[in-house]
Amino acid sequence: MAKIKVEGLTKVFGKKPKRALELLEQNKTKDEILKETGNTVGVNKATFDVKDGEIFVIMGLSGSGKSTLVRLLNRLINPTAGKVWVDSEDLSTMDEKTLRETRRKKMSMVFQKFGLFPFRTIASNVEYGLEIQGMAKEERADKAQNALELVGLKGYENMYPEELSGGMQQRVGLARALANDPDILLMDEAFSALDPLIRKDMQDELIDLQNKMQKTIVFITHDLDEALRLGDRIMIMKGGSVVQIGTPEEILTEPEDEYVEKFVEDVDRSKVFTVGNVMMRAETINMDKEGPRVAMQRMKDAKISSIFVVNRERKLIGIVHADDVSRLMKEGKNSVEEVIDRDIPTTTKDTVLKDILELLTYKSNVPVAVVEDEKIKGIVVRGTVVAALSGSEVKLNGISS
């Protein structure tokens, strides 16, 4: 189910939004409209869903309308046109009280520039959302404490925001949003001020949190690596418009246009692509009923020099090589059993390529078996991995991931 549904959402900043809307209908660009009317198009007819429990990442260059869009989602900014539904409730027709309740209970926001209250201590900043709901002092202090621990800021309760570094302040902002325990987290470049190490930690923390509590997270970032790491789906914006929405793989493998291509150009693909993306069908023989002759025939047909061996239950046993098999044939043996190499590298479908590169160089002639429940699901060979990493089209030999 869609947690948030957005349709034709448009925001024009300036005095003549009507005129600007007309021009948008004529598919004029943001720059043309600015020249003609002096109005800035913040967001242009955005339409998308955010599913319950997913991390939805919004990406785009500076000024592409990310912050404006996220503010339209909790109506900090009123749209010029279009609608937002949260849990099927239309945000634009909500009266003030309902809107307030929605903001209190359903969605919290983490701000790009932190938005901490300088005259309040860290603890009382984190408590703010609970305080205005009238929660008792001890209870909210407890929750604030938990949230601060979660972001690794225990011990800073009584300091003031100005006494903390930018990264720490950002984490206070996150703790403040978490303390409210909302269904939806709106995070506007929430990790941008963190140094790389803490940033990684916080990303992991967020993924954990999302797994544990099934939050719906709308996450804005500049950083493609972050987007790929966090996003179940990624939406790319340009000049206020949505250019592409898709899973990280889709964005990387089928970029919609040059703009998206530019974005993904210098991404470290080895951290994004998984074995599932590049694996091929495995040739196997069943050692319980097939002997050296069948093995050799199959290798010849597939033009390969080794073949994986499974047993009757289709469990992976090992691999046999062509030269050993031909020797067995000469010796007149009926089973390949004695030449099976049982010490073979294996991996799983979800492993990122970066983590199997080592296996591929180490026994470079031997493909890596992709295993699930001890059964072989496919193989990964050096060639396809290298091809995938270099950005060329990946042929999947009939197996879809």
Partner: protein, 278 residues
């Protein structure tokens, strides 16, 4: 321009003031209200022996105004001198008038400033009125004050309030308008009501600016209280006023000096409230 008949502005204002006098009961009510505050304050301050107050003032300025030994010493010596010159009672009365005027200014001015910050139309109307109030020569206010409130301390308080309130209104307005969109968005995003936003975010954020306004209001009240001695408001101003009348240079300076001491104490104390964190 002589072909135009002279506009009888003075007559019109007189007529307006006469008409306003019909609302006598309001002014009587206000008079007794102000009188209660004033006598209450004067009584409360005056009941304490001067040495206790001297120590208290010295300690207060020391603690609140940056723990400056020099300033504290100045206050101590100044107040002792003031007492020694025989201006203590006058000082107490002046202080009471100033504080009364300041309290009324804050109680009326801060909400007005808030209203002004929230409503563009209110700002549009109030701004020229405030300009007018501040540019009018101070003692012009004495005339309507006398007309409605007679003579004595109460019209002195009224004239002070009119003259001294604008900075509090203005700076409250400014302070609230200056609160960044970021803070407002944070307050809104968590579902604050308008009142919660005002009391938990806007006013605390604007506190320093508002206190700067209150500081100005207090200083302006003090200057007005001196002028108000012309309409019978007692205190240090009267001493100056008499000295001027009698061409008594020495006496005038003594009284003037007493005012300066009071002014410095009030200024430093209120400034410290606007600078301190809590």
């Amino acid at each position: 321009m002589e072909f135009l008949p002279r506009l009888p502005l003075a007559d019109w204002i007189d007529a307006f003031v006469d008409w306003l006098k019909n609302a006598d009961f309001i002014f009587d009510g206000l008079t007794s209200f102000i009188d209660v505050i004033l006598t209450g304050l004067a009584g409360a301050i005056g009941i304490l022996p001067s040495w206790i107050l001297i120590i208290a003032f010295t300690a207060l300025t020391f603690w609140f105004a940056g723990r400056k030994v020099g300033l504290a010493a100045f206050v101590l010596i100044g107040l002792l001198l003031l007492d020694n010159m025989g201006y203590w009672e006058d000082m107490v009365l002046t202080l009471a008038i100033v504080l009364t005027a300041a309290i009324i200014s804050v109680v009326v001015g801060v909400p007005l400033g808030i209203w002004m910050a929230k409503k563009q139309a209110v700002e549009g109307t109030l701004r020229p009125v405030l300009d007018f109030m501040q540019t009018m020569p101070a003692f012009v206010y004495l005339i309507p004050a006398v007309a409605f409130f007679g003579i004595g301390e109460v019209p002195g308080v009224v004239a002070s309030v009119i003259f001294a309130m604008p900075p509090t209104i203005r700076l409250t307005n400014l302070g609230i308008r200056q609160v960044s969109t970021e803070m407002i968005e944070a307050a809104d995003a968590f579902g604050s009501t308008a009142m919660q936003k005002l009391f938990k975010v806007q006013l605390p954020m604007a506190k320093t600016t508002i206190m700067a306004g209150v500081n100005q209001t207090i200083m302006l009240s003090l200057s007005m209280v001196v002028i108000a001695s012309m309409i019978g408001a007692g205190g240090l101003g009267t001493a100056v006023y008499y000295a001027v009348g009698r061409n008594d240079v020495g006496g005038g300076f003594e009284a003037g000096f007493a005012i300066v001491i009071l002014a410095i104490i009030l200024d430093r104390l209120t400034q410290s409230f606007s600078e301190g964190k809590d």
